[in-house]
Symmetry: C2
Subunit: 410 residues, 2 copies
């Protein structure tokens, strides 16, 4: 398995400021990996609100079920994340592992187990030995400090090739608030599956229902608009914690106009992290941005964009630096959404390659080939039917993807 | 690109008998390939009935549109198929190429253009030079002979690694009738896309509406239950021609009990050909049979089976000979169909690997590993919810798939 950093990794890693009311600590509990951290503890001040969105899988992991159940109170005092074991498809022992972890974290931190949030990523079907946390929990609580976001991002990696962090600031009234985010992407460990985890922290004072609405709204065009291979994990978890320590007057409703800047900043953090997930897709050598416009509705545009983004034939063509617009036509056709072949136009980069249901009369093979050699590929489809528009991110499908996911036993 | 025959190719190729009322000829028109046949002409006796099913793509090829329009009469006198160019996404010139081809075939055969059926497979977006047929059509008509089915199957290949033929007999009343079929599978040619073509010929006398009902019924669990990569071609075409020359009293309705044996025989031909398509999937090294049972409905079982069959993570795991049932759970979960994690059971070969939402207590890694080394993998999922059942065929996802579809420019 390759351990080199993705060529698509961001060139610049931002300095991550502290967030008032958030303290972080990491430890090596030896869940699966040797010589690296694999547990993250985040402690939150009193009155921290929380929102979350999770995998739509019908077979979610035990921590996903734990979080869903405890999200109802809207309050959070701690987050415990481990890498190396997903605690998924582990039956009754999985639920017990969650309960045990929450109990020891609550005891060490002096809070209630119901206020502890949990996430796990790694091997599936293997019972999670939660006792391993017992040995490190008190030390984690004692050592928790502000501003350790890069270390936190590293502790939740599986086969991610780089840690993913993002930060933004916004004003609510006259108070400056900060939003920090970390994420892990689609990495694999035998016999693992892709799991996407992301945690966002802010010092803004925002009610939990408002936070939930903001998160749901912003995820649609960020994390939910990214696909690596169309395979949905049992463990996808995105949690947003707001400590309220920045001192703004608490915002009750997502529709409050005071949140205008905050919404933008939150969106930028989610967009940044989700793009980093695409940039670190398994075996990825090209980041692919797909824009569909002129669809009947935005939803229809999303389905067509996803049909293109998940097509193995489109993705292998891009890996081969081939502007194979015929396969894009195929993917549009199979999406099952309204489309009129004779109105279809397709661009690679800024170059129109197909127009009115046939190859563009001005098609210039050399110019398009040069475009396809770039590490970032922009693909646009215009349907000419309506005003529906969408944008999704994906990566190419390379032999390395097959190697990462198929070769590890050999 | 590999030209060696798929290791999954059938060991035995049946002798294909003649079908009374069907004459075949092939020629090399030089559409794209050198040194091989690329045009097939089939001539049918008067009163031949026809049925067809086509791609569900919203962007179908010009020949698909031609066939759909001319299927209404229920009559056929000839079929012209070419490989090397799919005549898809070719706009107005594509429609004109169809018209021209039908006209010259009709003139040479002394029949009406409306009774000519057409299919094309190969490169997309490239105008089809139908004039190339002009030079070979009279020779094809003059040379058409019964019983050339293997040659016909070879002429329609693109990057198939072996020709696909199947045959069966049945009795209608006291008359023995024969059904022959040929197919081409998911092969690729730069910048091509997978196209599935299949043509079935019988000497039975069956009305066109009855034929259409039989075909529709039989395709659901044969060709429509096969997937290579989840990508649907613009050109998929399956046509069934019945010459009536066997001499049985013509059957008007598909529900006629006299068709009992014929239905079985037709199904066996379609099942045989569609399995051959899966065996010749690009880069395939393993044939994968997926059975889902205990679903709420058969349709739900189909969706879950297809989610497993199209999952890149399941397919790469099988390529890596890894009984990665965690990824099967993932695929069940993402299908969006009713599923209860804690009732799920999964088998590889005859070995149960997961049971009641967790790893099977009797899991034997060595036994399962031995099962995964076989060229044919049987994967069963029991949902424990109802009586819905389905079966689909697919193949593994190998580096060769990526090479075939991504490397050809290099």
């Amino acid at each position: 398995m390759s351990v080199s950093i993705s060529p698509l990794a961001p060139k610049h890693v931002p300095d991550m400021p502290a967030i008032a009311g958030v303290r972080l600590a990491t430890a090596a509990a030896g869940i699966r990996y040797a010589g690296r951290t694999d547990v993250l503890l985040a402690l939150f001040d009193r009155d921290t609100t929380v929102a979350g969105v999770f995998t739509r899988s019908k077979c979610p992991s035990a921590p996903v079920e734990w979080c869903r159940a405890h999200l109802k109170s809207g309050k959070a005092r701690a987050l415990v994340v481990n890498s190396g074991n997903a605690n998924a498809f582990t039956g009754k022992t999985g639920r017990e592992a969650c309960k045990f972890t929450a109990q020891i974290a609550a005891k060490a931190a002096g809070v209630k187990p119901a206020d502890i949030f949990l996430a796990s990523t790694g091997v599936i079907g293997e019972p999670l030995n939660a006792k391993a946390f017992d040995g490190v929990m008190e030390g984690l609580v004692a050592g928790a400090r502000p501003g350790e976001f890069l270390a936190a991002a590293k502790a939740i990696m599986t086969t991610d090739t780089f840690p993913k962090v993002a930060t933004a600031r916004a004003k609510i009234d006259k108070t400056t608030v900060t939003i920090n985010g970390i994420a892990k992407g689609a990495g694999m460990i035998a016999p693992d599956m892709a799991t996407m985890l992301s945690f966002i922290f802010t010092d803004a004072a925002i009610s939990s229902p408002a936070l939930q609405a903001l998160l749901k709204d912003s995820v649609a065009n960020t994390f939910n608009a990214v696909t690596i291979d169309g395979d949905t994990s049992t463990s996808d978890t995105l949690l947003l914690f707001a400590t309220g320590r920045a001192g703004n007057a608490r915002i009750a409703r997502a529709s409050d106009p005071k949140l205008r800047e905050f919404k933008k900043a939150l969106h930028s953090v989610l967009a940044d992290l989700s793009e980093q997930v695409a940039r670190d897709g398994e075996g990825a050598r090209k980041l692919v941005e797909i824009v569909v416009e002129g669809a009947k509705t935005d939803q229809s545009a999303r389905r067509i964009a996803m049909a293109i983004a998940n097509s193995p034939l489109v993705k292998t063509a891009i890996a081969g630096e081939d502007a194979n617009w015929g396969r894009v036509v195929m993917a549009v056709g199979k999406a099952g959404e309204p489309a009129d072949r004779d109105k279809l136009a397709i661009w690679f980069g800024g170059i129109r390659v197909a127009h009115k249901g046939a190859r563009d009369p001005g098609y210039d093979e050399a110019a398009v080939s040069a475009e396809m050699k770039k590490p970032e590929i922009y693909l646009k489809v215009a349907l000419g039917l309506g005003k529906g528009r969408d944008r999704v991110l994906t990566c190419d499908l390379t032999k390395e993807y097959v190697a990462i996911n198929g070769d590890y036993r050999s």
